[in-house]
Amino acid sequence: MSNEHIDEVTGVSTTGHEWDGIRELNNPLPRWWIITFYITIVWAIGYTIAYPAWPMLTSATKGVLGYSSRNDVGNELAAAEVAKGKYVAAIQSKTVSEIASDDALREFAIAAGGAAFKVNCVQCHGSGAQGSKGFPNLNDDDWLWGGKAEQIQQTITHGIRFASDTDTRVSEMPAFGDVITADQIQQVSAYVASLSGPVSDQALVAPGAKVFAENCVACHGDNAKGNKELGAPDLTDAIWLYGPGETAIAAQVRAPKHGVMPAWGARLGETKVKELAVYVHSLGGGE
């Protein structure tokens, strides 16, 4: 600038910019700032040599330290596996009942099983394992195939009516709509409903009991308590997979629905299944 202006108070030249009489001093940057600035430049060059940085045609320079964030994650995961190793080894060598009766192991299995449940099971059984119509509630004490830890393990491992697993649990109630008359269906439904609550027409109960004795006791038992060996549900309790009441029961007698649960043993491995079994067993209904 031709007309350089010097600030009177400080003796420092100004930049020539002026706003309403306020002038900007042209002070040099502080020395410490400049030095820090140069250090950061040197540091940055060193950094790009030490760490992956410069883009090449197909990848980037590897850096002399050989650092990789992917390796870091791998190492951390490996370290986590090692930290869990003690528990996992114990779970592998023990039965689910033994795991459930050991405080530390149970806590670990419930945490691990709970996590696996949220990934694999909630889609059908719900986030709180509370189930819904056609999908059993795992919190209650009513079990189609048995609520002991080993029985739960068996169910998870091989599934239910899962065709591709030869050991899968299978039960199939016949469609009685083709076997007995509509009246008989109405009667037997009333009888079954009467075992756990009031019914619409008491007159239907006695003939219904007869129909039941002729057609149903083979699987559901003389007292209608069901049979866990066969997966036949207890018809005297308050829990109904396809809904309570005569109408829902009649629908299930006429043309029963059969749910399918996949076999998880091959997919998740024995350890994970054991953890899941302990978790489900701990939900409150375990026998």
Partner: protein, 519 residues
């Protein structure tokens, strides 16, 4: 009259004086405080010894808490989230005790400041104490004020290099010792001490020591008074707490003025002359680089070293001590009115002295009564109330607690017999360092019974649980109520915990959910 030939006049310039104050972006002018001696200096040595002693020794005190808790008297165990202070153990949720202590410290500062001014700044503030300590080192190595000024102005000789290097080395050692002592509050001191020197301590320990070494060295050695003047908010806040009855370090110009370096000549000329001989002793000792004779100012931390310096001079001159003294503004104003004949003249010492040279009866002196005034009563009352409240709360606090979380999903479960079950996460807090057996009972909720996951006991309304010392125990509890006894969709009931040995107990009111129509 005044014989000031025995008094050495010091070429001292108050670099931070209000009159010569520099623009904020100007480079700092160095201050070379001269060593003071006198009663305040002795008191400050004592305060320094006590405060540094507390700081360095506290982590090494031991306190037996039995086999289940650490035996360090003061320990901030961040990893386990416990704070130990002698007989007091605080869990994180009890941190309000610490908050209460901080409020007390705040109100205490109000109280102290309104009575004796910035005593915190002048005597006990870590910045003041450490700067004092760093100055001791500086004087021991480089000599007192004049020697240091000469050294600073001189060229870089080998001697200067050696002196400077050793000074900074010792400062760094002090800084490291300061940072080193700090970390002992957070872990077992003897163990950490060994770990620290064998290279096995946690990285955070070394980082903390490094950071605190750097800050101690920078603040105490390099920045000094700039920390107080530019960085610290307290000078601004405390200025608002002073009133006309607060004691502050005051230059009593009602007896000092007109100051004169040649009292005899002035007296001979028949002019009035005050006690101040303008020897600059007060300026030379000031660690803040101010001239107290300019009056009360922001930079003054009231360290009272100028009082010591001036008293020494007054003793030599055979005058009364207290030309610079702790005085209140009201006394000072009264004396000024007296010395200036109610403002009608400039200060005339003859107005405050009788003919035989002693002070007139009208001169106001500080009286202890001034400490007790409504303002300080209020501060004392607030301070004591908070203290008593904390003490009461501490003596009556629970060492056994229960917290209950109701399961969110599912809210309730219908069981095969029609009864309804709710799940709860129950947390039992055993807050003493001894193992205990705690009985958990449900109260209310007709006919209900509970079972605890992992505890093989028949269902019932009461379950004994053993809890580890100083630990939280988390239980999964199922409460089940028969269908016929359910009254409504949300019933309240209580979880009660009781220690049968100590009779301590606690309760938690929980909710039991049921579907609309429970059969």
């Amino acid at each position: 009259m005044l014989d000031n030939t025995q008094v050495e006049r010091l070429e001292a310039e108050a670099v931070n004086s209000a009159k010569t104050r520099q623009p904020l972006y100007a480079a700092r002018k160095k201050i070379f405080p001269k060593r003071a001696s006198g009663s305040f200096r002795r008191f400050k040595w004592l305060v320094m010894a006590i405060t540094l002693g507390i700081y360095y020794l506290t982590p090494w005190l031991r306190w037996d808490r039995g086999p289940f808790a650490p035996d360090q008297a003061v320990l901030l165990d961040l990893a386990n989230r416990r704070f130990y202070f002698f007989f007091i153990e605080i869990w994180p949720q009890e941190f309000y005790y610490v908050a209460g202590l901080l409020v007390m410290a705040g109100v205490g500062l109000f109280l102290i400041t309104s009575t004796v001014g910035r005593a915190w700044c002048g005597y006990t503030c870590p910045q003041t104490v450490w700067v004092d300590l760093f100055l001791v080192v500086e004087r021991a190595i480089e000599g007192d004020r004049n020697a240091r000024m000469k050294l600073d102005a001189g060229p870089w000789t080998v001697r200067k290099l050696v002196l400077r290097a050793s000074k900074h080395a010792i400062w760094l050692v002090i800084g490291a010792a300061t940072g080193g002592a700090w970390i002992f509050y957070f872990a077992d001191a003897p163990t950490l001490f060994v770990e620290l020197f064998t290279g096995t301590a946690a990285p955070v320990a070394y980082i903390t020591v490094a950071v605190l070494t750097a800050t101690t060295y920078t603040f105490g050695g390099l920045m000094r008074e700039q920390v107080c003047t530019y960085m610290c908010p307290w000078p601004r806040i405390q200025a608002a707490m002073l009133d006309e009855n607060s004691l502050t370090v005051t230059y009593n110009d009602w007896r000092g003025e007109p100051r004169s370096r040649h009292a005899k000549k002035v007296v001979a000329a028949g002019q009035p002359v005050g006690d101040c001989v303008d020897c600059n002793a007060c300026v030379a000792v000031c660690p803040m680089g101010i001239d107290i004779r300019d009056g009360q100012q922001l930079e003054c931390i009231t360290c009272a070293l100028c009082i010591d310096a001036c008293d020494g001079v007054m003793d030599k001159l055979g005058r009364e001590r207290g030309l610079i003294s702790y005085a209140t503004l009201s006394d000072y104003n009264a004396n000024m009115m007296l010395a200036t004949a109610d403002g009608s003249s400039s200060v005339n010492p003859s107005l405050v002295r009788t003919t035989d040279g002693t002070f007139s009866d009208k001169v106001a002196h500080f009286h202890i009564r001034k400490i007790f005034r409504p303002r300080t009563y209020v501060y004392m009352a607030v301070w004591s109330l908070i203290g008593l409240g904390l003490l009461y709360s501490l003596l009556t606090r629970d060492r056994l607690e229960i917290n209950v979380l109701h399961d969110r999903n599912p809210q309730f479960v219908t069981l095969s017999d029609g009864s309804i079950r709710n799940g709860y996460t129950v947390k039992l807090l055993n807050m003493i360092p001894e193992p205990r057996t705690i009985v958990v009972t449900i109260q209310g909720l007709q006919g209900a019974e509970m079972s605890v996951v992992g505890i093989d006991l028949p269902v019932g309304r009461s379950v004994p649980i053993s809890v580890e010392p100083d630990r939280l125990k988390m239980l999964k509890v199922f409460v089940r109520q028969p269908a016929g006894q359910i009254q409504g969709t949300a019933q309240t009931f209580k979880f009660r915990v009781e220690d049968k040995a100590s009779f301590e107990s606690d309760e938690y009111t929980a909710t039991f959910n049921a579907p609309e129509i429970a059969r």
